[in-house]
Amino acid sequence: MASNDENLQNLERALIETYRARPDLPVERARLTQDVMRDIRQTTCESGWWSPSIALDQFVWRTATIAASVVLVVTVFTVAVIRTTAGESAVSLAEEFESTPLLGE
């Protein structure tokens, strides 16, 4: 069993070495650059997409965060108010029942 495991480790090691011994692929830098830039320009023109801006990204995220916080606060507040109101009405209803004489006593 130990021997089998050792053999399997040999095979794994061989596959790892094979992977690492792979030569780099020859890809023409100029052509790749040209193709990528052409696609970028095309997409930018077609969609009216403008160059990326961290400021815009931050603005969007900050606005979304503030909006989410406001919604959360309003929700919590609303739930608290509803609970309080419901509690009060239950208490006042109970008091009313207690103060009302049963069967006209």
Partner: protein, 218 residues
């Protein structure tokens, strides 16, 4: 001669192997604009400056992609990596180096490639007699010389591709990063954008799956 050159590599270092986080040929000469300068100019609308970044990191991306996807698709995937990088520049905060960020995009693009491929259900070709013979040779104890001669054969590459093709895209991505590239679980998690626990569990399962494939290869 070399005093004016600062090597800007940020390898994910490991004993014996590392996934290069930048092109070794690239050395940031002080006269050339740095990544930060180029990115700033691109953000200001100088789209053409992105071509400089492609030239700078071309080999870096090809090296990552070339080991993960079939050779005939490597250029196309490398193209996608750069296009994704350009349109994702707004997400680059600068907390990591640009080459590391680009490596993450490259790894995830390759992962997406295999996900798409698994949906297409491309059949995996069977092993030939030569492949089985190679596996048997590797299973048997050998001298170091024989071992290193055998790993550079065509059969070796084909067996590796065959074994990886049987794994799920997730297992393949993790196994490649952790076991083949030799990255730590944390480094692999950073590149894939997954949790460390997820990668840890998957790395173990992927290795078990690979072993099972190699044992039950007939």
């Amino acid at each position: 001669m070399m005093s004016g050159v600062s090597v800007m590599t940020a390898p994910l270092g490991l004993a014996g192997f590392y996934l290069p986080m930048t092109d070794e040929a690239f050395t940031g000469l002080k006269s050339e604009p740095g990544d930060g300068d180029l990115l700033e100019r691109i953000r200001r609308g100088e789209i053409d400056r992105f071509a400089d970044l492609i030239s700078r990191y071309h080999s870096h991306v090809i090296r990552i992609v070339g080991r993960r996807v079939p050779a005939d698709r490597a250029e196309e995937i490398a193209h996608d990596v750069f296009v994704r990088a350009y349109f994702g520049l707004a997400q680059f905060s600068g907390s990591t180096s640009f080459d590391h960020w680009l490596a993450g995009i490259a790894v995830r693009t390759c992962y997406d490639f295999w996900r798409g491929r698994s949906r297409e259900e491309v059949p995996v070709s069977a092993l030939t007699h030569e492949h089985h013979q190679w596996i048997e040779q590797m299973l048997a104890a050998q001298s170091a010389d024989q071992f290193y001669n055998q790993v550079r054969t065509r059969e070796a590459v084909e067996v590796l591709d065959w074994a990886l093709a049987q794994l799920s895209p997730e297992n393949r991505a993790v196994l490649t990063l952790v076991h083949l590239d030799g990255l730590s679980v944390r480094e692999a998690a950073q590149l894939l954008g997954w949790s460390v626990i997820n990668v840890k569990v998957r790395a173990h399962r992927a290795r078990q799956a690979l072993r099972k494939i190699l044992i039950n290869r007939h």
